[in-house]
Amino acid sequence: MILFGLFLLVLSSLLGVYMYALFYKSRYRISDSLSFTVTLAAGQITSFVIAITLYLVFPIDFTVICTVNLWIGIVIGTQFSSVTRKQSLLAGFFNGGVAAVMGTMVGAVTIDPTLCGLPESTLTLQNTGIAVGIFGLLLLCATTLLVRFSLIKH
């Protein structure tokens, strides 16, 4: 489980770096509103998936993991939003942090569904964790493809 989680973490970080490189390379020839949209989409989905995977790897204490994830999400959102202009820095900061907190919450509910008053899952812990991790990775791949399409087409 830990090995699988670390593998997912490396893969999602590589996808995020690829998106950042693509965005950085075409920063002079895109308009303001497209850069705002790409900032929101890429920053939110990358911090969301990394937060889910980090909670699945280290399910010890919600508060500590949530703090760490919050700062990681803030750094990712700020990095994405400081590519083009400083005006969307505020949106990147806030939305990266909120997406990281929501990803941690999704991970916590996956591990223990009785937190939100839901019934116990019929699957075992390993199966649920692997399914949610693969779902997050697919989501990140789809978003990367969409961002690449919109940046190259433009």
Binding site: F62, T67, L70, Q87, S88, L89, M102, L115
Partner: protein, 141 residues
Amino acid sequence: MSAWIWGLLIFQFLLAAVTYRFLYRRRKLIGFHLGMNIAMVAGGGMALGTGVLLIYEFPFYYMEVTVIAALTGMLVGSLFGGMFDNQTLLTGYISGLMTGMMAPMIGAAASYSIPFAIMMELFVLCSFMMLFRATKSSRKT
């Protein structure tokens, strides 16, 4: 425990009121993009703080707390966005609605720990401070 919760709640509403007065005086200087960001941050931050703090105080009233947090987010987002434009009003409205729906779930998953609430308020405070800084350094083109 209860004093912390009500103190943080009053603190965040005072922060929003001070920010609203500050922005209302210079709303003519703020452009379209910055207005959109301001509406999103104000609505989302107030909904997040209200939902997390109120589910700590009333753990058995999940539905009522969700409704109150969503209404707070919608109201604050519409107020902050309505200073500038129609589209910024819509952005603040929908951002406050979504975050208000999510916030009590986060508070319930955090198992009612006070340090988490203090850190959340710190995050909202940092966002509002960045908002002040962005407003001061902006010139409408």
